[in-house]
């Protein structure tokens, strides 16, 4: 075991500057796993991925392997590690079974983690099976988004989501049945960088015109991002927000001047969809929803609703992370609309696309340049022009570091 002294995280985060060791210090990474990923709510799955009893998904909470399972009793999140000798209990990424038998010595656990059987039981007669169940997380969901906390003594999920709850509504409400639908396939993009370099970047509007300039050059000038891909600062109307509890957002609403612009189409492209939306929400509300479009919101510490993409951030080590993404499909819409969502995700986040690959390069260069040569990093941009809105939300210009400062303020509070 390494000789470790607990890093004083509070001293590394000031109002408008942070210390770069927050990205590169191995001891800080271990503390994050404990305090952030095992200490409070973490996004784990969406209910649309578990339609039937017996369905399960293999995921992680920080570096802890977990299973998300569905039984007649509900959704369960349990640590995916046999309590006997620590073997990864279930190696398959997803599937359907109502019990999990360990491949090492055959111990069997139910979907809620209960130890239900030990083979050749005579020799294990004195074991108290009730004490050897899988560690189970507290589980709550909102609009089908399942969050889990290995620390049971936390605020309820709604309180934790706070102002970010509206982002889950905003995404779900784009469906005429009020639900998103995730597919079975994900792209996993490896970043040789710290997980916070992904998390923080999600609502960083400042980098877009530089890191993603090739994207700006390639897409049509009248596209849905024409409001933010600009050379003049005043012309950008989109805003960055800090929502509280580490949740951050960029709002492209002002960029989406007409219904369906968020999908890059004219309002009458999918009449069946428009009709279904008006049927469910009424004409006025449906038009508002279809004009506002999807959220661009990061929910601390690992979920990013990236408009029509769905992103989950997995920390592996202090300098390795995986960016998972899949299309954010809508339930109850024409197949062609979901196909367009898929097609939009490919140039944005696919392996040879514009955004994720660009972000990975920058994050990796940033990590490499910081490791071994620590220093203070500036996050002051826009501090004197941000404004406080309802419920404590801080809002500022698209390119301001309001979201980043909020992220770090919350991060600091986790360790206090």
């Amino acid at each position: 075991m390494r000789d470790t002294t607990t890093p004083d995280i509070g001293s590394l985060i000031k109002d408008e500057t942070i210390h770069s060791s927050l990205y590169t210090d191995r001891d800080i990474f271990e503390l994050e796993c404990e305090k952030i990923f095992e200490g409070n709510w973490v996004y784990v799955a969406h209910e649309s991925e578990l339609p039937r009893n017996g369905d399960y998904l293999r995921r992680t909470m920080g570096t802890t392997p977990i299973l998300v399972t569905k039984s007649a009793k509900g959704i369960h999140v349990v640590v995916n590690r046999c309590t006997h000798r620590g073997n990864l209990l279930c190696p398959a990424p997803r599937g359907r079974q109502k019990a999990f038998g360990c491949k090492y010595h055959g111990w069997v656990f139910g979907p809620d983690g209960e130890l239900v059987d030990i083979p050749f039981p005579d020799g294990s007669e004195n074991l108290d099976k009730s004490k050897l169940g899988l560690r189970a997380a507290r589980v709550e969901s909102y609009r089908g988004f399942i969050f889990a906390s290995l620390n049971h003594d936390v605020d309820d999920l709604i309180t934790y989501l706070g102002n970010a709850r509206q982002a889950l509504d905003r995404a779900s409400d784009l469906s005429p049945v009020g639900e998103i639908q995730l597919s079975k396939t994900w792209v996993q993009h490896s970043f040789k960088a710290n997980w916070k370099m992904i998390s923080e970047n999600e609502a960083d509007g400042y980098h877009v015109n530089f890191v993603h300039d090739s994207f700006g050059k390639a897409i049509t000038p009248e596209g849905k991002y024409d409001n933010v891909l600009k050379e003049d600062e005043e012309g950008i109307g989109s805003v960055s927000r800090y929502l509280g509890n580490g949740h951050t957002e960029i709002d492209y609403e002002v960029s989406y001047g007409a219904p369906m612009k968020w999908l890059g189409v004219k309002e009458d492209r999918y009449p069946e969809y428009t009709a279904a939306m008006k049927e469910r929400y009424g004409e006025q509300e449906a038009n508002t929803i279809m004009r506002k479009g999807p959220p661009h919101t990061f929910i601390f510490p690992n979920l990013f609703l990236a408009e029509t993409c769905f992103v989950v951030i997995q920390p592996i080590s202090v300098n390795e992370s995986i960016n998972w993404h899949t299309p954010l499909y809508l339930k109850g819409v024409p197949d062609k609309l979901n196909q367009r969502i898929l097609r939009q995700g490919e140039p944005a986040m696919g392996p040879s696309a514009f955004l994720t690959a660009d972000d990975a390069v920058i994050a990796e260069r940033q990590w490499g340049a910081l490791d071994g040569d620590p220093g203070w990093l500036d996050l002051s941009r826009g501090a004197d022009r941000e404004v406080q809105k309802d419920n404590g939300v801080l809002q500022s210009h698209y390119t301001d570091e309001t979201s980043n400062r909020g992220f770090w303020n919350h991060y600091k509070s986790v360790f206090q």
Binding site: Q97, K98, G101, G106, V108, V116, D117, P119
Partner: protein, 126 residues
């Protein structure tokens, strides 16, 4: 030796429509009035009633999933043919019981004997 009317051994298992809520590849666990626990499956409209307890681990086969006519034990992945009871995949090696079925007036019946008594009592009876 007592003569038993074969009709007396038909046991009420469940109403046929109770299977409507069960997916095609899943089973329904039923405790029969003589204490026997059985698993009921329906494949292509035909009913199969088998002993619920796996002959290997302490698992309910009604919790397993069907692949064609093989039910896979949820614990260790052994399999049984629900038509014959034969064990078809390791680690299961001992056959389980299968029961004759009939349907009448929307009710499923099966000829289910009581749970097997321990071997020494069986020997005594013989």
């Amino acid at each position: 030796m007592n003569q038993i009317d074969p009709q007396d051994t038909w046991k009420h298992i469940c109403n046929v429509d109770e299977l409507d809520d069960v997916e095609e590849d899943e089973g329904l666990q039923v405790t029969v009035d003589n204490g026997a626990v059985v698993a009921v499956f329906r494949v292509n409209g035909e009913f199969y009633v088998i002993e619920d307890l796996c002959s290997h681990g302490n698992a309910s086969l009604a919790e397993g999933f069907l692949e064609d006519f093989d039910v896979e034990c949820p614990f260790h992945g052994g399999k049984f043919d629900i038509r014959t009871g034969e064990a078809t995949a390791f680690p299961c090696a001992t056959a389980i019981k299968v029961y004759e079925v009939k349907v009448g007036d929307g009710v499923l019946f099966a000829k289910v004997s009581p749970q097997a008594p321990p071997p020494d009592e069986e020997a005594k009876d013989a």
